[in-house]
């Protein structure tokens, strides 16, 4: 029977080994005691990662990752980008503005059952405003977390 290589895991393992190599290389710049742990665990990371790659060549690995039903990767990627932009703009634009916009986009991304329409966006916006205000009041007033105001005066 022909071996099925788990190419994705092997690529990740090589990337981790490169991380280990980078960490080990830079650990030389630290003091003797400050460098012991980074060096040790960089070596462990390199050995385990390359060990896995070697094991894949010998035994064939775990097989390719199976797709879980009908997955729409673009939705996952878009969610990640929205979260990233939300955090990047949180200080500048403020909590309420970024949260309501993010809420609407995330709600649309998560909704597989309805087509995007003005009516649905208005519903999501209304819910987003209510939830954002509840979180804002709860955190800033009751828990004392100073959420960024950004472009709004409150």
């Amino acid at each position: 029977m022909s071996k099925r290589y788990d190419v994705g895991s092997m690529v990740i393992s090589v990337c981790l080994a490169l991380c280990g190599l980078f960490a080990w290389f830079h650990a030389g710049e630290f003091s003797a005691l400050g460098g012991i742990f980074p060096k040790t665990f960089a070596i462990v990371l390199i050995i385990c990662s390359l060990g896995y790659v070697a094991a894949c060549f010998v035994k064939g690995g775990d097989g390719e990752v199976q797709a879980r039903g009908s997955e729409q990767f673009w939705r996952g990627g878009a969610l990640f980008v929205v979260l990233l932009l939300w955090c990047l703009l949180l200080d500048k634009a403020g909590f309420l503005v970024t949260s309501v916009i993010s809420y609407v986009i995330l709600a649309v991304l998560a909704d597989h059952d309805h087509a995007v329409s003005v009516k649905r966006i208005l519903i999501h916006s209304g819910l987003g405003i209510v939830i954002a205000v509840i979180f804002y009041i709860g955190f800033s007033q009751f828990l004392g977390v100073p959420l960024p105001k950004g472009i709004l005066p409150f």
Partner: protein, 505 residues
């Protein structure tokens, strides 16, 4: 000494009311990812300034115990530990919820939390001075070995390839070295970025590695987040009690482990629950089911983390050394009330201390009805809500929760970045748990190692410093036992089988 009069003091209507308020507030705050038990106690401390010392302590104890328990809700229902203590609860709690047994998982977690809380409080009541002496015998080297003992759990947490698990653990340990070294002050792997100077915060790493991958998977497919409840509309209390009685040894052992780890200043609920999980998995006849929705996995972790509450109060009250960060906040509140912790507290301030301990027991018992009610509605809401509400609300909690740690957007950015990396790694069989374990245990292990090395070097006996102390030797023996247990057990079993004349299985 442990008089009934103190119990009656704790049972006044006002104290009972404070207990209920404390448990409810703590449970809700603890259930929100990013809001820790420390924050719950710290935020609500000012409310207690106008109360009598005993009532203030009772309320703070109730908040603390409720918050540790509340962490299990998010762990079970969203696969995100509400507090770091609930990391190990995700391993079996979420798979149970996923298959429609979320109500059973929440009830199991509640029963275990109550048992753990009671065991911890009883240790505090009867053995506090004795155990405080034990805590003092733990030096840096013992912490180092304890952290390594925790790392042996990676073998247990590695689903599939052990090499992937160890690679993840090493990656987590490397992540834990980012920032300014605690001893020596080396600035490591910061790429000249101010954001990385403080290192990777454990809570933002937890939220990112556990919660963001769940969100990404949620939006990618049409499938439900959790299957709908399998049975009726009740709490499944009878079923959970049956499982708890069947698993009583695991429950009590985990609670004792939690209490003993809780006594050690700085160790905390996360280590307690991980160690008890490792022990439960090792000794269970159903060890193959751990990680796939085994109720014993929920029992052990929840019993252990709630037992750390009572355990943590032992050094706090007897020695004036806070066992956990919330203990430090409570100690501050005690000082405001004019109560000085220390060896004389139990003899001179017995009235306050014993009323508080009975109040803690009361709060623990109150967790049962309060927790079951909150848990039931939380599970049903999360199981039935539309994804278009669930996804943005969980995202809200992730972003605000990570921001609230230090009121810093950098933590939120770190959370999202680690979440993206975690999703890719998880997809290719590198589970998040070993990485998180490395991030949590890395600083404890490194600090213990460096301090022990310095002490050994100063005394001219480095090897003796690491291997010469009795408690270290016991922990090293445990590490060897855990690592080689499968080999030991196979050899011993085959010899036994030969002895009794049966073919080896």
């Amino acid at each position: 000494m442990f008089g009934i009069e103190f119990l009656l003091d704790a049972l006044t209507p006002m104290n009972l009311l404070l207990c209920v308020i404390g448990v409810v507030a703590g449970t809700i705050i603890g259930a929100l990812p990013g809001l820790s038990a420390t924050m719950a106690v710290a935020v609500l401390v000012p409310l207690t300034f106008s109360m009598s010392p005993a009532s203030a302590l009772i309320m703070l104890g109730a908040i603390y115990t409720g918050a540790i328990y509340g962490g299990s809700f998010a762990a079970i229902l969203v696969n995100t530990p509400g507090t770091p203590s609930a990391i190990a609860t995700t391993f079996d709690g979420f798979p149970m919820a996923k298959r429609g047994d979320g109500d059973l998982a929440v009830t199991c977690g509640t029963i275990a939390s109550v048992v753990g809380g009671i065991v911890g409080a009883l240790f505090l009541l009867f053995l506090a001075p004795l155990l405080a002496e034990f805590a003092l015998r733990f030096g840096p080297v013992e912490y180092f070995w304890l952290a390594l003992f925790g790392l042996t759990l990676i073998s247990a947490l590695s689903e599939g390839s052990l090499l992937k698990g160890w690679a993840g653990g090493a990656f987590g340990m490397l992540c834990s070295t980012v920032g300014v070294a605690v001893i020596g002050g080396d600035v490591r792997y910061t790429f000249d970025s101010e954001l990385l100077l403080g290192g990777i915060d454990i809570v933002s790493a937890l939220i990112g590695l556990y919660c963001v991958p769940v969100l990404i998977d949620l939006v990618m497919t049409r499938a439900r987040h959790l299957d709908l409840p399998k049975k009726g509309k009740g709490f499944r209390f009878k079923e959970a009690m049956g499982l708890a009685i069947h698993d009583k040894f695991n429950l009590v052992r985990s609670a004792v482990i939690g209490t003993l780890v809780g006594i050690l200043p700085g160790a905390g609920g996360s280590i307690a629950s991980l160690v008890s999980y490792s022990e439960a998995k090792r000794s269970s006849p159903r060890s193959a089911n751990f990680g796939k929705g085994e109720p014993s996995g929920v029992f052990c972790t929840e019993a252990a983390n709630n037992a750390t509450v009572g355990g943590g109060f032992i050094p706090t009250l007897v020695l004036g050394i806070p066992g956990t960060p919330p203990d430090a906040v409570i100690m501050g509140a005690l000082l405001v009330q004019g109560v000085k912790t220390g060896p004389a507290l139990f003899s001179e301030g017995g009235e306050i201390v014993y009323t508080f301990i009975y109040g803690l027991l009361l709060a623990t018992l109150l967790m049962l009805p309060v927790g079951l009610l909150i848990g039931k509605y939380a599970y049903r809401s999360i199981a039935t809500f539309s994804k278009s509400i669930l996804v943005p609300v969980i995202a809200f909690m992730c972003v605000i929760g990570s921001f609230a740690i230090n009121n810093n957007v950098g933590d939120s950015l770190m959370m999202v970045s680690l979440g993206g990396a975690g999703w890719i790694l998880n997809r290719y069989g590198f589970p998040p748990s070993p990485i998180v374990l490395g991030i949590i245990l890395g600083p404890i292990a490194e600090q213990g190692f460096v301090q022990s090395w310095l002490i050994g070097a100063a005394g001219g006996n480095i090897l003796g410093s690491f291997f010469g102390r009795p408690i270290s030797q016991i922990i090293i023996a445990l590490i060897v036992l855990v690592l080689f247990y499968p080999v030991f057990s196979k050899t011993i079993l085959s010899k036994l089988n030969l002895f009794i004349g049966r073919a080896p299985q």
